[in-house]
């Protein structure tokens, strides 16, 4: 399936088994074509190994007390459970898709009560909450997420927890993908040939998200079908994670034309994409976490 090819590691219901892959894939030609090192890197095994050894070095006095084997057990258990990203630095949190998904899940679990309480918060305050879990989380990401919710309008507006959370999920999990999409969108807007190879640099993309309204044609945004073609190309070539193209097609099939932020909002609200990501529950169940409630009851 195209999804698997893209290299997305899809955790199911928060549980992850390292090294699990379906039988037929073991001998797939693409897999054997990679060198050992490349294969391991693609599966992010090396990221976790390196981080584990690094943590070991950091805390060797304490860990030597109760043994290295136990340490590794704990470490990889926490990776499985998605708690390894708590209070870690941003560079680690964004290192793998699994880390990103775990972080999203952790954020949801910790602050779902804020949403339940009904408080509407500003972008800065959500950023503060993010910083409680990750001290050096960059403000730009939060800002970009807020822009999705507010449609690039009045950045001081208040947002609801669910709106922000789903927009943040899209922005954070697929941030590289979104950058490329932004570049494609700009090109389409300015009428460039969509089939030329676009190599997005880090400086491009997000700055140009604001469509030049003065120059735009009478119709807003770009044509949906053309847009989808470009995205499909992108997904094929992309080495970062992308949303399942089938679902993207679904999003784009509903409209004739759409703007960049319209597209992002549609992505964030799409149930299917959320489920494919697997980090957060459906919007309707957002305020419920029976597992957590049970644990709290026990205490």
């Amino acid at each position: 399936m195209a999804t698997e090819r893209a290299g997305t590691w899809l955790p199911e219901a928060g549980k992850l088994e390292l090294g699990s892959c379906c039988g037929p894939r073991m001998l797939s030609p693409e897999r054997l074509a990679l060198t050992d090192y490349e294969y391991l890197a693609q599966r992010h095994v090396l990221t976790y190994m390196e981080d584990a050894v690094c943590q070991l070095l950091e805390n060797k006095e304490d860990i030597s007390q109760y043994g290295i084997a136990r340490f590794f057990t704990e470490y990889f258990n926490s990776v499985c459970q998605g708690t390894h990203i708590l209070f870690r630095e941003f560079s680690f949190i964004q290192a793998t898709p699994h880390n990103r998904a775990s972080f999203l899940r952790a954020f949801w679990r910790c602050f779902r009560t804020v949403g339940k309480n009904g408080d509407l918060l500003t972008m800065k305050e959500y950023h503060c909450l993010l910083q409680l879990l990750c001290p050096d989380f960059p403000l730009e990401l939060t800002q970009k997420a807020a822009r999705i919710v507010l449609m690039d309008d009045a950045m001081d507006c208040l947002m609801s927890f669910s709106d922000f959370l789903f927009a943040f999920q899209i922005q954070f999990y697929y941030s590289e993908f979104l950058e490329s999409v932004a570049a494609i969108y700009q090109d389409l807007l300015s009428g460039k040939n969509p089939n030329t190879v676009i190599v997005p640099t880090s400086s491009s993309g997000q700055h140009r998200q604001r469509p030049a309204l003065g120059e735009a044609s009478m119709l807003e945004g770009v044509e949906a079908s053309l847009f989808y073609q470009c995205l499909e190309n992108l997904c094929d070539r992309h080495k970062y994670s992308c949303p399942p193209p089938a679902l993207v097609k679904e999003v784009l099939s509903n409209v004739q034309r759409l703007t960049f932020y319209g597209f992002l909002v549609a992505l964030s609200k799409h149930h299917g994409i959320n489920q494919a990501l697997g980090a957060l529950p459906d919007k309707g169940d957002l305020m419920h976490d029976p597992a957590m409630d049970e644990e709290l009851e026990r205490l």
């Binding site: 090192y37 390196e50 690094c54 943590q55 459970q81 708590l86 910790c110 503060c128």
Partner: protein, 613 residues
């Protein structure tokens, strides 16, 4: 031409009372012509209705002239009376002192009960001893030069507000100022310079109602013998001087206080300016030049009245010096300010944090219950919190203004203190206050303090419940979901042992409660489940990340090597797998070939055995 009555006395009367003539109550409306009495010396016109002084120019021997209680409107007709010594013009309607030029021998001049509003035209009366201007319309007293013999000056019942030139009267002994409008001593300060004055009255003036009246007069007029018609005793004089000294001191003290206040205000302004520059990242050369860091704080001025101790890092000269000099010294900019005012310690500017290292007296430090930080970065304050905990153990109320509190996480740093009852975060310069949830987060993170008030509002039970509800999960996650090694590393050395002990005892049966368990629980002092929520200042955090970079590089290389090794081994393993069948066949073939020839094989084996020996 109006006709005047002509007066002629009988020769008997003329001989009996040759030098005096009394025309009292004669219903006279004009002065009669007095014929043939040129040697008259005393003339009495009291209680008549005379409107003008006339027809007496021929009485050039007159010494005594009494026109009391008439209707005279103007002093006139006296120019020939060069021998006149006593002139009584009380209770008339005179509006102006004039036409007295030739009366150089005048000894007593009585003008009481008239409408005179100004003292004038008397400077030539150098023999005048008594001047009565009571019950007139005088509003002030000046123009008194020339009256070199004046001994008594009666100014009662006027509207006098100030008195001048009295010190020009060398012989003045008695001065009556009762029932006027004098309210300050400054308005009669010339009296202090008069050495001759011995008797003075001020009763009926506003000044006499003041609390400082008596001793101010006595202190400034040491030469007085009587005040308000009462003899001044030695006791009174002594009291006056004591009180005056006290007032002087009080004035000096308040001057000092206002000087200190001014200096404080300038310092705070300067600190504020520097803070603004810092915040807006505006480079200013002037600011850098003004900056004067002082390493050794000068001696504190001594405690006065036990109320205020101020300490400035730069003392510019003695504070007792003249006001203007000291004020000039104030223009030197100070970069920070530390002030202890009873129970409040106020720190302005980041340099003030150094003052926590100073040797504070136990009494002073023990009295401080409130600590206020202004114009200091919160990250810098965090670093001195341990010192604060030790040096000011009773500080229960912390106030922050313009301290750049921007994120909730920063409140985690306050958890290390012993106790906080009240917290005041001024919205000015602290963006965190604009967040909806900030108070709840504070209550949650610092729940072990049981805070009473935040920003002046009482903390209710509902607030605490809400705080737990909002952030309780965070605490649960932060404690129970972190792997043990991470918990320990986050909590740091001090808590390692305590926490580890607690975790170890977790496994014990719930019924068993050991002594040590309770002790360590008390030692920890706060909810362990949120103890992992720490705050490291941005700089420290970045430093730490930098340090880790080296380790990360090493780990990467190490893992790479391991991977290389593993893949090599894997390859070898796979290669072996491939080659093994062939190898096995060859091994078997070789063995079979060897054993084929029994006898030669036996020989070979024996050979091998002997070789081994």
């Amino acid at each position: 031409m109006p006709s005047f009555p002509i007066l002629q006395r009988s020769s008997e009367e003329k001989i009996l009372y040759s030098d005096r003539l009394t025309l009292e109550r004669q219903k006279l409306t004009v002065c009669p012509i007095i014929d043939g009495e040129e040697h008259l010396r005393l003339l009495n016109f009291q209680h008549n209705f005379i409107t003008r002084i006339q027809n007496i120019s021929n009485l050039q021997r007159l010494i005594f002239l009494d026109l009391y209680d008439n209707q005279i409107e103007e002093i006139s007709g006296l120019s020939t009376l060069r021998s006149l010594r006593v002139l009584l013009l009380g209770k008339n309607r005179i509006k102006k002192i004039s036409n007295l030029e030739n009366l150089k021998s005048l000894d007593v001049l009585d003008l009481h009960g008239n409408q005179i509003s100004k003292i004038e035209n008397v400077s030539h009366l150098c023999d005048l001893r008594v001047l009565n201007l009571a019950r007139n319309l005088l509003s002030h007293v000046d123009n008194l030069n020339g009256l070199d013999s004046l001994t008594e000056l009666n100014l009662r019942h006027n509207q006098i507000t100030f008195v001048r030139d009295v010190d020009n009267l060398p012989c003045l002994q008695r001065l009556f100022l009762s029932f006027n409008n004098i309210s300050t001593f400054e308005s009669v300060c010339c009296l202090a310079d008069s050495t001759s004055l011995s008797d003075i009255t001020f009763d009926g003036n506003p000044i006499a109602q003041e609390s400082w009246y008596k001793h101010t007069i006595l202190q400034n007029m040491m030469q007085l013998r009587q005040l308000d018609m009462k003899r001044i005793t030695e006791e009174e004089r002594r009291m006056a001087s004591v009180i005056a000294k006290k007032e002087e001191e009080k004035k000096r003290e308040s001057q000092k206080q206002s000087l200190l206040k001014e200096k404080k205000r300038l310092t705070i302004n300067n600190v504020a300016r520097k803070w603004d520059l810092q915040q807006h990242r505006v480079t200013s050369i002037a600011a850098n030049q003004d900056r004067k860091d002082s390493d050794s704080p000068s001696q504190d001025p001594c405690q006065v009245d036990g109320s205020t101790i101020s300490a400035f890092p730069e003392e510019t000269g003695s504070l007792d010096s003249a006001l203007s000099n000291a004020l000039q010294g104030l223009s030197v900019t100070d970069t920070h300010l530390v002030e202890v005012d009873g129970d409040t310690l106020s720190l302005y500017g980041s340099g003030a944090l150094e003052s926590l290292d100073r040797n504070w007296s136990v009494q002073t430090a023990g009295m401080v219950t409130t600590v206020s930080f202004t114009f200091i970065e919160f990250d810098e304050i965090v670093q001195v919190l341990p010192k604060l905990k030790i040096k000011f153990p009773n500080s229960l109320h912390l106030k922050f203004k313009e301290t750049n509190l921007v994120m909730l996480q920063q409140f985690n740093a306050l958890a290390q203190l012993r106790r906080i009852d009240q917290l005041t975060i001024d919205p000015q310069g602290n963006p965190v206050v604009s967040f909806t949830l900030w108070k709840y987060y504070v209550l949650f993170r610092l729940s072990h303090f049981s805070m009473q008030k935040i920003n002046g509002t009482e903390v209710t039970q509902n607030d605490m419940i809400m705080a737990e509800r909002l952030f309780g999960i965070l605490a649960h996650v932060a404690s129970s979901e972190l792997p043990q090694y991470r918990l320990i590393s986050i909590l740091g050395d001090a808590r390692k042992k305590q926490f580890r002990y607690l975790l170890e005892t977790k496994g014990k049966k719930p019924g068993v409660v050991s002594e040590e368990n309770n002790d360590s629980k008390r030692l920890v002092g706060e909810n362990t489940n949120r103890a992992t929520l720490n705050y490291t200042t941005r700089d420290f955090y970045n430093e730490k990340l930098e340090e880790i970079k080296e380790k990360k590089k090493f780990c990467k290389m190490y893992i790479e090597d391991l991977v290389k090794e593993a893949t090599e081994i894997n390859m070898k393993n796979e290669a072996l797998q491939k080659l093994w069948p062939q190898m096995f066949i060859e091994l078997v073939r070789d063995a079979v070939i060897e054993i084929r020839n029994k006898s030669s094989y036996m020989k070979l084996c024996l050979q091998q055995i002997t070789d081994q020996k």
